[in-house]
Amino acid sequence: MIKPKHIFGGLAILLACILLYQNSTAFRMLFKGLIYSNKTYLEKTVLAIKEVNNISEWITAEYYGEVMFSWKEYQELAKIDPDTSFVRFDAINSLEQLYTWKDTARKSYFREHLKLSHKKVKFKDYAQKDSLVQTDLFKDLKIILNTNDKRTYNFVRDHALYSPMFNKAISRPLRKKERKFLGNPKKDLVLLGRGWIKAGFGLDSLSDDQFKAEEKNDTLVISGMPHPHIISSHINPWFIPKKLKGYEIVFSKKKFKPEEVKQVKVGCLRKLEQNALETGLMEEAWKSAEASVLGMLQLLGEEKIKVVRFIR
């Protein structure tokens, strides 16, 4: 016969199991192994070399750290600076696709943003309708981009935000999308990002006449040094492969589109770069370069030089 204490005991065990499942990774793994399993695996695909560039970059300082960024923070930034909004980012992204993949990408871009994939409609009919970027703009852009001139493309891309033609074309649908985009206050995503920022100098422009030894002061002066710049900044999926993740989802509420998640990730990276600069990455890059040259000279037997100084 079932007594109240049995029911109470059963409920208590159920509650304990629920608490364990929510709070304990090990218990979740045990449950998943026995009752339910979910495995993600990659099919083998080729790794293609897209570009090989000869460079001469000298990395003299590295910064690693972790930051947090959220969807709400991104929205606040978007309100302050509409140029960072999701829609403009997307339009600029489509220009890059146009350059790389020409008409195939243009058609897929229209399909994506007009959400027509479920309807059988001819592309040319929709090209004339009101859309995110009007057909006339695309015609002009195509003429420019078909020159295969990377500098022209870069100019269009970098100045698109300030181009009256571009802004006029996207102004009405932009305002509509931004109103929709900035809504839904319950939606939030918080990401923790861990990454690296590496700074240094480009050595392309260095020549012999920039090196000058001041014998009186035992100093080597290298004039015309370029400013240190950020050579690489990244937050990868892994910070330490197989041990520490680069991105951790701290909190998420409501569904997010891939572009929205991307914006939060980019926000993490920008914040990490800012932290690196505030910590004095560029100053460290400068000092480290001077110390490295001095160390190298001493290894090569130049004991007369005691100080190395860079001059911009």
Partner: protein
């Protein structure tokens, strides 16, 4: 067993299993380095992932629930060069106007797999909404590991070495050396250099 005793055991079990915590960084840090990057390689990788769900997996392999594909186009960028901090006095031999340098082995200096270059496919795969953010993140993590495993087989070592020689030779000539000899150490423990095994291992990796 009495319910109170059982509850007590479960409670202790709870505490023990909750003890595991993910590692985290305690500090951020700026550090001085001296690394010469002579080659930048940009790589394209298409990620084709499958998600296999099963119920009662211990029972004759389990009952398959669904199998949804996910495709994403990604780009990675690597910098290859040498770490000048590893250069020691015994690696440099100077006699008059002749210098003989044995530089540290070429290595992977930087690996970048930026999220802003990830592009999910929506032409070939229409059921991508079944993938959660966590699962997609897992796919990108697997993608990074796969790319890292394949980097040693790209065969970029010689090109990187040539570039470094071309970069350092004018500098040494400027210092008055007329006869310049530059060699590279071979680091047999390094994963980066797999010349001899490259073709066979690559074939095995692709066919599985």
């Amino acid at each position: 067993m009495q319910p109170n005793r059982l509850l007590g055991i479960i409670f202790l079990f709870c505490m023990a299993l909750s003890a595991c915590q993910a590692p985290s960084l305690d500090i951020s840090k700026v550090k001085a380095v001296s690394k010469l990057a002579s080659l930048e390689v940009k790589l394209d990788k298409m990620l084709f992932a499958q998600n296999q769900s099963k119920v009662l997996p211990f029972l004759f392999g389990g009952i398959n629930l669904n199998k949804a594909p996910f495709i994403a186009y990604t780009e990675a960028s690597i910098l290859i060069g040498i770490d000048m901090d590893k250069l020691r006095g015994q690696d440099i031999d100077i006699s008059g106007a002749k210098i003989s340098l044995t530089l540290p082995p070429v290595e992977l200096l930087d690996f970048s797999y930026p999220a802003e270059k990830f592009r999910e496919d929506d032409i070939y795969v229409t059921a991508k909404d079944t993938w959660s953010m966590h699962q997609k993140e897992q796919v990108y993590q697997l993608g990074e590991l796969e790319i890292r495993e394949m980097i040693p087989y790209l065969g970029m070592e010689e090109k990187a070495q040539e570039n470094i020689i071309m970069l350092l030779t004018p500098v040494l000539r400027g210092m008055g050396f007329e006869n310049i000899e530059i060699n590279f150490q071979e680091d047999k423990d390094s994963d980066f250099l797999k010349r001899e095994e490259s073709i066979e291992a690559l074939r095995e990796m692709i066919t599985g």
